[in-house]
Amino acid sequence: MPPMMPFHMHNSFVSGIELLYTLIIVIICFMIYFLTKEIYDLTKHKGIKHFRSAFFFFGLAYISSFLVYLFMFSTWTMDMMGPRRSLWMISLVPLSYFSTLAIMNLAYSTAWKDIDENKFIWLAVTVSFIVSLVVLIMHAPMILFLFQVFLLILILISVFRKRSKKMLQMRIMYLLLAAFWIMNLLAIGSSRFLREDVRLIIQASSIIIFSILLYKVIKWVR
C-alpha cells in the first residue's frame, strides 16, 4: 500500500488543483467575453449581448466558487476558524447571484426573440437577488442547488421544443455547460464526501465543454 500523503500536503495539493481549474475556466470565460466584443459593438445584437453576459457571469461565478471552496476547506484559512463560517456564508452570496444570472443569460441568449429584454433583465436580477438572499438567510446552499436544477429543467423543456437540428446541438451544449456548473456546485458542497477522482472528472469535463465553446468562438472571430 502506497504511503499516505500528510493531511496538510494533501489539502494544499487539492487546493492547487482547484485553483488551476478555476483559473482555466475563468480565463476561457473572459476570453469568450472579450473576443466577442467587436461583433457585439458592431451589431448590438441581443443574442450576442446575453451570450457574452452569460460567460462574464460564469467567470465571476467560478471565482466566487473558488472563494467558497477556500473558506470551506483550504488550510490557507485554517487559522481563522472563528469567522470562517461567516465568510463562507457571505461568499455564497456572489456565487448564488452570478451563477443564477449566468444560467439565465445563457438561456435568454437563445430565446431573446420570445421574451421582452427589459422584462427579462428585471426578472433575472430579481430572481438572482432573492435566491442569494434566501441562501444567506437560511444558511442553506442546497436551495441554490435545487433552484438551479429547476432552471435546468426549464431550459431542458425549451431545448426539446425547438426543431432546428443545428440549434438543438448548440442548446444541448449550453445545457451541458449549465449541468456541469451545477455538478461543480454539488462537488463543492459535498467535497468532504465526494471522491477526488469524481471531482476531477467533473472538472475535466467542464474544461472540455468550455474549451469547445472557446474554440468555436475563436474559429468565427479570429
Binding site: I48, V217, W220
Partner: protein, 90 residues
C-alpha cells in the same frame, strides 16, 4: 419574398452606400433599400446613432450619407457575424 432580418437590412443599406463610392443622398438610398419610408427612417436613425454612417452636407448644401470606419468594418465582418449567430443559435 423572404423577410430580411435587422442585420441583413443594415448590411444591405451599408452595401448600397459603399457601392456608390461611399456617398449617396438619402432619397436614392431609400429607393434602393426597398424599405418603407418609416422603416427607412428608423434604420437611418439607428445607423447614425451607432456611428456606422455619417451625414454630411455637400457644396450645393444637400445632405449625403457616407460610411464610417465602423460601417466598413461591419461590411467586412458581416459573414462572420451571421455565421457566429447561426452557429451559436443566438
Amino acid at each position: 419574398m423572404r423577410k430580411r432580418d435587422r442585420l441583413e437590412v443594415i448590411h444591405d443599406i451599408l452595401n448600397i452606400i459603399s457601392e456608390r463610392d461611399n456617398s449617396i443622398k438619402p432619397t436614392p438610398l431609400l429607393r434602393f433599400s426597398n424599405l418603407s419610408s418609416q422603416r427607412f427612417s428608423e434604420y437611418l436613425h439607428e445607423l447614425l446613432e451607432k456611428e456606422l454612417v455619417r451625414e454630411g452636407i455637400d457644396k450645393k448644401k444637400r445632405r449625403y450619407l457616407t460610411l464610417t470606419d465602423k460601417g466598413f468594418r461591419y461590411l467586412e465582418r458581416y459573414k462572420t457575424i451571421t455565421g457566429f449567430i447561426d452557429d451559436f443559435g443566438l
